[in-house]
Symmetry: C2
Subunit: 189 residues, 2 copies
Amino acid sequence: MQPTVTAALTRALFEEWAARGYAAISLERVAKTAGVGKAALYRRWSSKLAMVSECSEQLGIELATIPDTGTLEGDVRKLLGGLRRLLRHPIVSRILPDLHAEMPRNPELAQAIRGRLQTERRRRAATIVERGIARGELDERVDPELVNDILGGVIYWRMIVTGGQADSRYLDRLTRFVVAGIREQVSRE
Amino acid sequence: MQPTVTAALTRALFEEWAARGYAAISLERVAKTAGVGKAALYRRWSSKLAMVSECSEQLGIELATIPDTGTLEGDVRKLLGGLRRLLRHPIVSRILPDLHAEMPRNPELAQAIRGRLQTERRRRAATIVERGIARGELDERVDPELVNDILGGVIYWRMIVTGGQADSRYLDRLTRFVVAGIREQVSRE
DNA sequence: ACCGGACGAAACGCAAGCGTTCCGACGCTC
DNA sequence: GAGCGTCGGAACGCTTGCGTTTCGTCCGGT
């Protein structure tokens, strides 16, 4: 098993996925793109689902932990900046919506993804909220789940769904929006 | 051209779309589901793309205008409630993410969708903001675009991407969050 | 120098689905 | 009641892609 061949196949899979969409992935084209025979592919994975499931797990790994900037607003801005960088990636930006569309139809895939990407994301939102509480910036009743939805949802919607861009000015406004919302969420309850 | 046949084909297309995903739509199955010969289908649409493009335009029509509740908070809550009802629809909730994944790969489809759904959505967000300004609840510098992203993005993310549910309590908190954010957005600029 | 495993390439049988064509049946209009 | 258009159903040739198999080759270990 040559590792270079495995790497070439994995990279080719993501290219094919981004270009054609999940359902239209052809392992024939993947092998050809990788400059590899089909036999080498089937020696590693038994089917399309097996290959996709295993390779998908590499998607969310690069998400670094959020550095502590000292303020809630700084942390939020930093997180949004990281998300923007991720969603700008030409491969990721095409694969993510495809993945989300496929998950309800493919329980095995859904389990692999939810177990990895989303747990990680939730953890990061929780970290930010906890820091805010520890600093005294936030009431302890703030719901990390809602904060997580807002941090992820708005920028995902903006960049992926509507195809709009998110410049620094946009991120700044969004940051202020989110911070104000987090504070207000509890102060009136 | 029997209208009942056209209706049966259209309905069958959406069922097939929701069940299999855009790329895996089979017009053979669509015709069979509709209880119709393939000839009847191809007498109406020249290809899969033609059928999907035309039928897609029926998706966003039902979006009613937002009733004026008298307060910004009431309007926002009403809009979110309507979105929740839409996103709970079993067919819509499956087709929408599939559509968003397919749009970057299919310019013709993208144009049809962006021209209909998104323009309509933007208009509704703008209406709410304008009412808020007219009532004196909002500063006139509020950016309707950002408001639109937040209204649509968070609940879409919550219900479609993460597969979570949005109960009334969640919508109430989200409403407070959004209203607070809208106000704060400008007051500090 | 030899031997075995992984390699690229090509062909296999099979299934699905495209868009087309032909058929006989049914219903409406004149 | 004769004629025309649409209907459902079936088959057509064609392409794509699956997963398998068979080659001959190349490279690394002993």
